[in-house]
Amino acid sequence: MSAIAISASRPTKSFWQRLGGFNMFTGIALGIAGWFIGYYAIGENITGHTLTYYKAQAGENDIAVCLGYVLGVVGFLVGMGFANYPVRRMLGHPPSLTEHESEGEGAARYFRLCTDHKVVAVQYLIGIGTFFFVGGLNAMFIRTELLSPNTHVFGPNQYLTLVGMHGSMMMGMMTSGILGPFANWVVPLMIGSRRMAFPRIEALTFWLLMAAGVILVTTIFWGGFQTGWTGYQPLGDEGTAGYDAYIGFFGLVGLSMTLLGLNLMATIITMRAPGMTWSRLPIFCWGVVATAILMVLAAPMLIATLLMAGMDRTVQTGFYIAAIGGSAYLFQNLFWVFGHPEVYILALPGFAIVMELLPVFTRKPLWGYRLAVAGLLGVAFLSFFVWQHHLFVSGIDADLRPFYMLSTEMISLPTGFTFLVVMGTLWRGRIRLTVPMLFCVGWIFNFLFGGISGVFLSDVPSDVTTHGSFFSMAHFHYTIMGGLVFTFFAAVYYWGPKMLNVKFDERLGKIHFWTLFVAFNSTFGPLFALGFLGMPRRVVTYPLGLQGLNDWVSISAYCIGLSMLVFLYNVVKSTVFTREPAEDNPWQAKSIEFSLPTPVPVHDFERLPTFDPDPYPYGVEPAPIGAPVPAGGVA
């Protein structure tokens, strides 16, 4: 095997010279230009207003709006440089894999198309983090509105838009909340590869997501959308152009998810270094595989579902319009065929992170490795057979209900495997309550409540009773926020120092955890009670007798906001002010990424590692984990 030489070049261009060319700023400029061309130059000239069933009298031009968004995104991607390689390929140039990976590119790499998986991961971390805070801010506004049943800060329409934006932002952007930053960063390292299988697609998934986030925010210019994150029909087809933004947002999210999942699966299947057999794959990678299966298969259905809605609103089809042969229930079915796997797209990476981190902080091998894999794959498989439990009160055939009730309850079995593995790993471990470990323990507590309330909700009688109430809202916040967000932070504190080459303040991290844990339970625990007392979701007012509980919840929600500010302060302090470099292996972990120097070199390994033992040799001395040779150094 011959060696290849790579060189790191240092650009000597001035700041203004570097501002030109293909980068984020050019992308934004061309994106805006594309929007104007799509909306005014083309859309307005096709028709003055949309002629679809609901819009004929409204005078609204959804064709122009949709064209504006489409050309805006195209312009943005062209400006970012995503069209260059496809054009080169059209002209017959041979394939290449890398762009802007040189260390000499410096911070500019983060503002352009870069194919280094570590750069894309950091882009994800910051980009998704930003939209996560926007979504969180919406939640604060929602709780402010609900401080009083009668005095309104926002109108009903604005309130619904806030609820919809919060839900969409969290359910859309956070689907890649763990896979985007952490899987992109750590999976290639864990399997002994220097890159993802399709590096440009990896970069594309991130920038598509950023375009999607911006499109969602623009919904406020069109009067918002009143459907909530589920976008139900016929409210969607009847909605203002804000619903077009919703379609554009989730459509791009779906595309990003599909490509991200495909890329991760292709990477893990094909690019494992010698010795990294399936039975030695770290459990985090198994979690990524299980999640990626769902992304690759379920997300395209979301795209198709939304395209149908878009066609109803622009080219006069009637998929969801009963008056012309369509059905609003078609949307519900299609949406939830995607929507329920989507829940596990959010939850499974959290399972995997907890199981990956526990051996490190208990100094024990993962208990029940095969059981854990079976649990992850079992959840992924079963999640395709449960969607109709979302339609229990939508008039489905009563004979269908028991099947979907049982299939939903069956998911608790593979989920139970995960809990067994977690308990088995904790049992008699030498537990170190570091910040990442605290968040893992928080997950165990939260997800237990979320999971048990989910089993309760899967029963038809209890589902019919609590459907559309704050009870179901409490359930999914316990699973998604209690599951995903807590493990997201576990991963941030665990891999963040390695990724960003800074040491986080441990004390602030613990303050962040405890305030978040207490405030989270104080916020969402009472929502179970509010749901039982009959408080419906997405309604701006409520009976006076429920004000006490609502005020308690709102104040607790503000405390969640404060705990997030502690986190933000910790991050800014560590990355901007103190900038204390991170150690190579702050957790004494035995996984391969921590055997590399910090910061991890651009090309990760000088020689590809080989893997011999099992991935969790804790309690076994000496630890004979794979022996990578990092670029420029000796392991």
């Binding site: 290849i4 790191a8 070049s9 390929r89 299988a197 198709a304 066609m311 012309i324």
Partner: protein
Amino acid sequence: MEASAVHLELEPEPRHWQRRALWVGARLWCGSISFFFVSFVFAYFYLKSLDTNHGWKIGHVTIAAGIGVSIAALQLVSAVALRLSSHRRPGDQLAAGVIALLMGLTAVALQFYEYTILNFGAASGGYASVFFGWTSMYAIFELGGLYWIETQVATMLRARRNGGTGVDHALAQAGFEACSFYWAYFVAIGVLAYVILYIL
């Protein structure tokens, strides 16, 4: 821009990785598009069985059967030509690629021509919605597939012009195989569309 003195000797990754990635990626993408078009299959049977307000077909809805057969036939020929040549010499692949490209483009053109001669519009009931939605999305995906074929053809043409220098033949072969597999699978979905939309 000046190059710095930083030079690293890196062990290259195994050459078969990228070839296998193409193989796997093409098959995974087939899985994705399957679920995409399953949505339209589901919509077809769901709306047909519901027949909401007797709106499955509103008014006189007659499909242009001849054009449908032509589109399916063109696609089939292009897929068979491409797939059969996937393990042959680059010269055969080039000819097959050009044929597939021309057939595919003709099929797309015929699809858009069909829209102009139909005696019904998108608002003519559930069937019309599914027909326009499915076929238009299929045509857009088809253009994407044709782009992929075009890159294979262009790569072979350039390689021929350069006398084959600077080309990783094994990788090019893997790319052609992945492309032809995807195209064959995609055309199978097109044939399914023809059966459902024109025959059932």
